[in-house]
């Protein structure tokens, strides 16, 4: 699924400068605990999280994740956005909860990559 479509499905707003027209996401993971994502998020392109601090960007960076979606309407912290811009990681925010965000994306055809 293209990031553009993910943005539409989640009615999300983009908070960073990096271009993302061509980014294709094959699977996603969602967690507020970063070690959980680091242990189970292999080969995912998208991280959904409620964690509003720069460590969600560090986690994405280590895992080669292109985009982080902040759920529950959080306005991202400045240090988070600065680091994301430096690392060219796209950050979006959505008003939907974690559960609803994941459900909406899953229904739209984006899998978790763990069940076939």
């Amino acid at each position: 699924m293209k990031l553009e479509q993910i943005m539409e499905v989640l009615e999300a707003k983009v908070c960073t400068d990096a271009a993302f027209d061509d980014i294709e996401i094959l699977a996603a993971c969602g967690s507020d605990l970063m070690s959980d994502a680091l242990a189970f998020g292999e080969n995912k392109g998208l991280l959904l999280t409620g964690l509003n601090n720069p460590q969600c960007i560090r986690t994405a960076e280590m895992m080669d994740i292109n985009c982080v979606v902040l759920v529950r309407g959080k306005e991202p912290d400045d240090a988070l956005v600065t680091l994301a811009n430096e690392k060219e990681i796209v950050v979006m925010r959505t008003d939907y909860s974690m559960y609803t965000s994941c459900g909406l994306l899953y229904s739209a055809g984006l899998s978790g990559g763990d069940i076939s």
């Binding site: 070690s35 680091l38 895992m63």
Partner: protein, 142 residues
């Protein structure tokens, strides 16, 4: 096996926002040296988990990274409280993290088991009141 380079980082425990900077720097170096993408990811994840542990549990410490042609050896040494029961600490889900640490996004009890999973060689030495030393090696062609 020829050593390519050595890096040393001081990992401070006072600035949580900066945690992970050493792992990010190592990741950048490994990319510049054109190591395989999967190897770089494994190494970054393992080092980052270890670096975060040093920050949240170990009171900060020193990260030493030796980069060889086909492997990387990482030593993370802190002078923190130490781990009373390593076997227990290695179990998935075991964590002594407080709620305030969990609010920072850590404390699933997944770090150490994941470091072990990502690494080809894994050693942890800890002494109560003295500190913890984690040494891991990752081979590029495994």
């Amino acid at each position: 096996m020829a050593q390519v380079l050595t890096q040393k980082y001081v990992v401070g425990a006072d600035d949580f926002a900066a945690a992970g900077a050493a792992s990010a720097a190592v990741k950048k170096t490994l990319k510049q040296l054109s190591f395989p993408v999967d190897f770089i990811r494994r190494t970054s994840i393992a080092m980052y988990e270890g670096e975060i542990n040093m920050v949240i549990h170990g009171g900060g410490g020193i990260a030493s990274v030796e980069i060889y042609e086909d492997c990387v050896k990482i030593t993370l040494a802190d002078t923190g409280p130490g781990i009373p029961d390593i076997e227990q600490a290695m179990q998935e889900g075991f964590s002594t993290a407080t709620d305030s640490i969990r609010e920072l996004g850590f404390g699933a009890g997944m770090g150490l088991p994941n470091i072990k999973k990502q690494s080809d060689e894994f050693e942890i030495i800890s002494e109560i009141g003295k500190g913890t030393k984690l040494t891991i090696t990752l081979n590029a062609n495994s």
